[in-house]
Symmetry: C2
Subunit: 201 residues, 2 copies
Amino acid sequence: MIILPVANKKAMYDTLRIFFHKLIPKLDDETWNSFVSLQQVKHYKKGDIISEEGKTNNIVSFIQKGAVMVYNHLDNKKCVYNFFFENEYTGDYESFLTRKPALYGIEAIEDCILFQLHYNGLQLMYEKHPVFERAGRLIAEAQFLRLTTRNASLLAEKPEERYLNLIKAKPQVIQRIPQYHIASYLGITPEALSRIRKRIM
Amino acid sequence: MIILPVANKKAMYDTLRIFFHKLIPKLDDETWNSFVSLQQVKHYKKGDIISEEGKTNNIVSFIQKGAVMVYNHLDNKKCVYNFFFENEYTGDYESFLTRKPALYGIEAIEDCILFQLHYNGLQLMYEKHPVFERAGRLIAEAQFLRLTTRNASLLAEKPEERYLNLIKAKPQVIQRIPQYHIASYLGITPEALSRIRKRIM
DNA sequence: CGCCGAGTTGAACTGAATCAAGAAACGTGG
DNA sequence: CCACGTTTCTTGATTCAGTTCAACTCGGCG
């Protein structure tokens, strides 16, 4: 993992600014610049651990490029909770909020470029630029909505339905994520997923 | 469902104020009074539908007394997503946030007294008293954390483990909720739960 | 008293887990 | 560019937990 010198800072943060513009259109340049000044650009290689289970997680990352997965280990078994791609925020949001050791780890599934923001930096934004409270609320709400859907899927759908819905909702996952991670995400074994795929084709 | 005349308004909202005081200690009386003035007190009987699936949900409810459950119907099957008790907020938060028809319904499992807040009322609070943005963010974050735990449980635990953890985490549920609703919440049939209970005793 | 909803029990069935082995894809170094 | 080893995916046989369907019990209530 390395920190790169930045060639064209303005253009680089375009996607990030678009992301925030959708949340708080009245975002002014001064606020934006102080936000940008808090960002760290980091590169990770496929397979790198971006944040570790068990450590308190002080960072949230905006994915400029790449793909990551959120996972943890329960009873010696790796469970995959989610995948994130370009233009999404990732991080162990739970640990970030509670300031407790992370229950989840984050791993780069492809080479990644991330914009990282430290917990203290975000608190600073909340204090100095209260308009960011709204962004924080909207992001938390969006995370909540995402989990709501996931919940309904885990509770009410059979693995086969979950797989079919995943194809519809996030075709990227099928293209970019190894099958045994998808199986874990669906709550089944790789063998079971292999058989489901055979069955529905 | 009836709207009661209020005898002792101050004392009545004590638990609600305590709830918000934990989120925003610097809450002043003026802000609090304008918040209270937006509340509606409603009584529901056991079995009443507090908010219906399919209708856009404009209300969040603080449970002053009673117990409710959040559910929906998928493939003609009733799925129970959660139970809420005294001093918790409930509502189809998803529909409330997205302004789309509710995917979930809410039913009174015991006679209930609720403090209800309309969507427009909350937006008004956000505009007039920005300190409420923080409360909104913290509530959204808390909801998110709750769902995170639930998610991990559905993904990684077997029904039997889920039941044992439920007993530990929310003993109220075992006391106050009919078993077939608990079974649905755990993602299994009433028969299966009956057998699990037999097995572990 | 008889009804009805909730809970229990039994028997047959089903889909996923597990264990084990083999095939295919991938990447790394020569 | 190929060869080899590792990782990922597939297939088969067996086991097991939960589903389904049906019958029966229990307790409250008109």
